[in-house]
């Protein structure tokens, strides 16, 4: 505990002990007696009819126990499964393959090397079909139809969606002094957690009990889905998420490999393990982004931003498997109104199928807010350039003011709280903004090019109120249950699922804070559907806003129950007690007080309790958040660009975040650091590219490049704290903020450096080739390689 009994603060992590000793338990660490190993055969072609699948040679391999094909699954009525976006996805292909890397067959063998060998013994005959690779051509007349499995489907169109007031927005644009427009691509990337996805499945045929240990960010949701898909009673399914080596949204969906592993266990009667390799992860699991955007911004001559318009073409891959609340096919993209006081806004999103892996919502996007913030912050810089105005000055002029909160933006989001100008000023002070601009001017005289880029973002996290937000009909609420043992130690069970965020520490801190305990007195249980309450899991930065709130609420319930027991102990009425210094104390009489530990023992003891009061300090809650929370931040990036080679070096990165009350500032900063590195990757080097044949060019870490310690600067962090008015402890969540805010800061910085060359915009990733090509006025597109 820190001073004053405050349990919040930079408490060292409780979970570290096992990891620094190499004693974490990740999915691939699990070994069960008699366990078999699975491997997936995947399509080499992006689009092809399946003529035949011959598994005889594979089945004859001496160490192979079973081979599953689409036909096997078809007979069990699980060849197709529902996606998180009300589409269906093939588990194992039956009629066609629709993306390179799609699952064709599943081999189960005695060891992983034999399973891999046996894949080569499966003979598949394909009839190649022309692929749709360029999303901008997916709706062309005569384009090959990818989803002919859907009755009556004649094109590759998935959905149209819009938000805002088109007429009002058009009117503002029509009369505005200045309008700037820009096409911009947020290229396809991939979350690539260091641990790939996998599962160990054990189906006990006698008991009819399925147990899976798996990389799942949402174990309860997965359990419900397995029940629905496999027709198993839900109470006979146990989903355990052991230690998870990073999620970042990659471990939200259910993948075909998981279902094959479960069915493999059913067929063989043995536990089956399947852990994908890296190429499978990059080529078949949920990608992120791939938004082709057109933005327009209207403003006055003197720099008042009036309105924003956006049209988006969303490449969803071959199946619509993006993971977001069901009423929002484009996620929360319509928060693209950003952090400025706009008169009007309108956005329109069209989703299309292409012959690529499914997904789209992943990689810390907060349901497409990465895309939204990138659009508005790039448009703001483009406007600043058009007006000849300093980008910081333009932002300061247009940022929402504290007195405007709670603020409802033109597309309906209600931002809860914020002091935006202060955050920007803090960032500028840390950066030494005026000195940087002077340095930039001096360097330009000498033919050296540095850039200063700003990004100001408003997040929207903590999904969400169940009447507005559900995934496949499951409301986005989360539960918590708390038990205090007779000796005053507590166990908190939560439905959210850490993949490194430190919940075993931060949630213990929340309960400790509410009950006057120390974090060591509180054990956090997570990741086992048999031991935790139902909830929708961890992604979209929702753990603190939703489960954190649930933890505080349930602790307060326990505290209220304890008050009644304390009143019996002290022989006063409950109204005479106040909570002070971590104890229930008679008002005005500090000697007469009882701690939670003392009260717990009494509750379970022989003390006579008032009528109707049961002898325990346990409670449960399901927290239905009233609204989203809105963390925000101001980021400034300083880059040096070498125009002779196009190389970019990030010299400095200043990040000021406001995530409301900080439970553990050390963990908050760690989350921010990690997200900033994501920005370096996306802005400068990451892209899952394809060639015109639909071949995925980002199938390994040799080509899908991730930033190392060398490309990342020493991050300079600042903080402001504007509590959320509707959250029980005023916290907002922060996990994805830096991933959302950093790419535009870096891109704005590089383009600021390139202004003397007349470059108005260049798409990510700003690789040396792309930067150099932009300088030449011949931009190079790196997401789609045409030969």
């Amino acid at each position: 505990m820190t001073a004053d009994g405050e349990a919040y603060g930079p408490v060292k992590r409780k979970e570290d002990g096992r990891f620094i000793r190499g004693q974490g338990t990740f999915t691939d660490d699990i070994q069960l007696p008699g366990m078999l190993h699975g491997a997936v055969l995947r399509s080499p072609l992006a689009h092809a009819r399946i003529v035949s699948v011959d598994t005889l040679a594979a089945e004859a391999h001496p160490r192979v126990r079973a081979v599953i094909t689409g036909q096997t699954l078809h007979e069990r009525k699980v060849a197709w499964m529902p996606t998180l976006s009300q589409d269906v996805q093939a588990v194992l292909a039956t009629d066609k393959v629709r993306f390179q890397g799609q699952e064709i067959a599943f081999v189960i063998a005695e060891d992983r090397y034999s399973a891999r060998d046996a894949l080569e013994l499966i003979a598949v005959e394909y009839e190649p079909l022309p692929p749709v690779v360029d999303a901008t051509r997916a709706l062309d007349a005569g384009a090959p139809v990818i989803r002919d499995d859907l009755t009556g489907k004649q094109d590759n169109h998935i959905f149209d969606w819009e938000a805002g007031d088109a007429a009002a927005t058009d009117a503002v644009f029509a009369s505005a002094d200045v309008v700037v427009a820009q096409d911009m691509l947020y290229p396809r990337s991939h979350p690539a957690p260091l641990e790939t996805c996998g599962m160990v499945a054990e189906f006990n045929q006698v008991a009819g009990q399925l147990t899976v240990w798996t990389t799942s960010q949402a174990p309860h949701a997965h359990r419900t889905l397995y029940a629905l898909i496999l027709g198993l009673p839900e109470h006979k399914i146990r989903v355990v998420s052991p230690d998870i080596g990073g999620g970042f949204g990659n471990k939200v969906p259910i993948y075909p490999g998981y279902l094959c592993t479960i069915i493999g266990s059913m067929i063989t009667g043995k536990p089956v393990k399947w852990v994908e390799d890296r190429s499978e992860n990059l080529m078949s699991t949920t990608f992120a982004r791939d938004y082709h955007m057109h933005g327009e911004m209207a403003a006055t001559r003197d720099g008042r931003i009036l309105a924003l318009r956006a049209r988006v073409l969303a490449d969803h891959g071959a199946f619509n498997g993006s993971a977001q609340p069901s009423k929002f096919p484009a996620g929360f993209f319509h928060i693209f109104t950003g952090s400025y006081d706009l008169r009007a806004a309108h956005c329109q999103v069209t989703g299309v199928y292409t012959n690529k892996a499914p997904g789209g919502v992943a990689y810390s996007c907060s349901f497409r807010i990465t895309e939204a913030v990138y659009l508005v912050e790039r448009m703001t810089d483009i406007l600043a350039a058009e007006l000849g105005m300093d980008p910081a000055e333009l932002r300061m002029k247009n940022l929402l003011r504290p007195e405007q909160f709670p603020y409802t933006c033109p597309t309906g989001w209600q931002y809860d709280s914020g002091d935006y100008p202060r955050a920007l000023q803090v960032a500028m002070d840390i950066a030494g903004y005026p000195e940087l601009r002077r340095e930039q001017a001096e360097k330009r005289e000498r033919g050296e090019y540095m850039g200063i880029g700003i990004s100001f973002f408003t997040e929207g996290v903590g999904a969400g109120p169940r009447k507005h937000m559900d995934i496949l009909g499951l409301g986005m609420a989360d539960g918590a249950s708390l038990r205090v043992h007779p000796t005053g130690k507590a166990v908190l069970s939560v439905s959210c699922q850490t993949q490194g965020q430190g919940h075993e520490t931060t949630f213990a801190q929340i309960v400790a804070q509410e009950l006057g305990l120390t974090p060591d007195d509180v054990e956090v249980v997570h990741g086992d559907t048999d031991r935790t309450p139902f909830g929708l899991g961890t992604y979209g930065s929702r753990s603190t806003p939703v489960s954190g709130a649930a933890a505080a609420v349930v602790a307060r319930k326990v505290r209220e129950r304890a008050k009644i027991v304390a009143s019996a102990m002290l022989e006063v009425s409950p109204g005479d007690l106040e909570w002070s210094g971590g104890r229930w104390q008679v008002r005005g009489d500090p000697e007469k007080a009882r701690s939670i530990a003392e009260i717990a023992l009494a509750a379970h003891g022989a003390l006579e309790l008032p009528d109707g009061v049961e002898g325990h300090l346990n409670a449960e809650t399901v927290y239905n958040p009233p609204s989203l929370t809105h963390p925000f931040g101001a980021y400034i990036c300083v880059t040096d660009v070498d125009p002779g080679t196009g190389q970019v070096r990030i010299r400095r990165f200043i990040a000021v975040d406001d995530c409301g009350v900080r439970i553990n500032p050390m963990i908050v900063e760690g989350q921010v650091h990690g997200g900033l590195a994501d920005g370096v990757g996306m802005a400068l080097m990451q892209v899952i590219a394809f060639d015109s044949g639909g071949n995925c060019l980002g199938g390994s870490f040799m080509d899908y490049l991730l930033p190392t310690a060398v490309e990342c600067p020493s991050w300079e962090l600042g903080a402001t704290v504007t509590p959320s008015p509707h959250h029980p402890i005023g916290a907002k969540g922060v996990g994805e903020s830096a991933t959302v805010g950093s790419p535009p800061a870096i891109v704005n910085s590089v383009l600021d450096a390139l202004r003397p060359f007349g470059v108005r915009h260049a798409d990510m990733p700003l690789t040396p080739a792309n930067v150099w090509s932009a300088i030449q006025g011949r931009p190079h597109r790196s997401d789609l390689l045409t030969s």
């Binding site: 992983r112 090397y113 891999r116 060998d117 080569e120 390799d277 890296r278 190429s279 002779g644 080679t645 196009g646 190389q647 400068l684 080097m685 590219a689 060019l697 040799m702 080509d703 490049l705 930033p707 190392t708 060398v710 490309e711 690789t767 040396p768 080739a769 150099w772 090509s773 011949r778 190079h780 790196s782 390689l785």
Partner: protein, 297 residues
């Protein structure tokens, strides 16, 4: 993670033994040194040798020495050893420049010089480096040793003159006074294969240091024949060591290479880099040559 196909394994106890095993197991056998080129290919099943001949025990092939006016590098020398070898850096700074940008420190602990050269990837940094230095490769076979100039060592992408029954044993470079060398590489990220790179070794006239008496120019990953920019070398020989000469050499080098467009960048960009990096490497190599009368710092 992907895993190799079934393979047999033999451990060589001497160079002679290794050659004997190569003869016995024929062309489907492969030498296993550091394995950091071969094993990744085997995991992806791009190559499937029948037998591996492990030569990691042949410490007699691991050395960096100066001998008879030559810097001699044993083929089994690890990248990290070459980077740590003061003698190598003292005579040819380019070797340390190049090693510093090959892969990462952990990979450099185990990958070998010989392994990298025999892998013969068109993006291999050391190929252009040794081409610039006009090194000599020593190859041992059943009939004895033969020498091959670096520029004749590679015959195509992933192809060298090392025959199935042979073993690369040494790379050696003549040490001459008055020289300076440098390697300039652009990659998309630290440890990445090069988008393009230039390797330069120059010798200046001993009186004024104002004239380039000899030059070796190597280019990586831009389809340069034998990893060398011979036409630019011809221009530099006898030219004044000035910015104008560097620019012209860069222009000629860029004109005569043959880059392909790929994920790392369009051909136009790589061609530009061939020129730009040649210029930068020349500047640095000349500066180093001038820093000491006898050669490199």
């Amino acid at each position: 993670m992907q895993v190799p196909a079934y393979v047999e394994y033999e451990k060589a106890t001497s160079v002679e033994h290794a050659l004997g095993l190569l003869a016995k197991f024929g062309p489907e056998a492969r030498i296993l040194a550091g394995g950091h080129s071969l094993i990744p290919m085997m995991k992806l099943r791009l190559v499937q040798p029948e037998t591996l001949i492990d030569i990691n025990g042949l410490s007699e092939l691991s050395y960096v020495t100066v001998d008879n006016g030559r810097l001699r590098i044993g083929a089994l020398t690890r990248h990290a050893q070459l980077l740590d070898a003061a003698a190598a850096g003292a005579h040819f700074a380019i070797l340390h420049d190049a090693e510093r940008v090959i892969a990462d420190p952990v990979v450099r602990n185990w990958g070998t010089i010989g392994g990298s050269l025999c892998q013969a990837d068109p993006s291999e940094d050391l190929s252009a480096t040794f081409a610039a230095l006009k090194a000599t490769m020593i190859i041992r076979g059943p009939g004895g040793s033969r020498t091959v100039p670096a520029r004749e060592f590679h015959t195509g992408a992933y192809q060298t003159v090392v025959a199935p029954g042979e073993l690369l044993t040494e790379i050696s470079i003549a040490i001459r006074p008055g020289g300076g060398s440098a390697y300039e590489k652009v990659g998309r990220r630290v440890g990445d294969w090069p988008v393009a790179a230039a390797a330069v070794a120059v010798w200046l006239d001993p009186e004024t240091g104002g004239t380039i008496t000899d030059a070796g120019l190597g280019l990586t990953a831009v389809g340069a024949r034998s990893f060398a920019a011979a036409e630019a070398e011809d221009f530099l020989r006898g030219a004044a060591a000035t910015e104008a000469s560097y620019a012209e050499a860069g222009r000629i080098a860029a004109e005569h290479c043959n880059p392909a467009s790929d994920q790392r960048g369009p051909a136009e960009y790589k061609r530009h880099l061939a020129g730009e990096l040649t210029v930068r490497a020349l500047r640095r190599a000349v500066r180093r040559a001038r820093q000491q009368p006898g050669g490199e710092p």
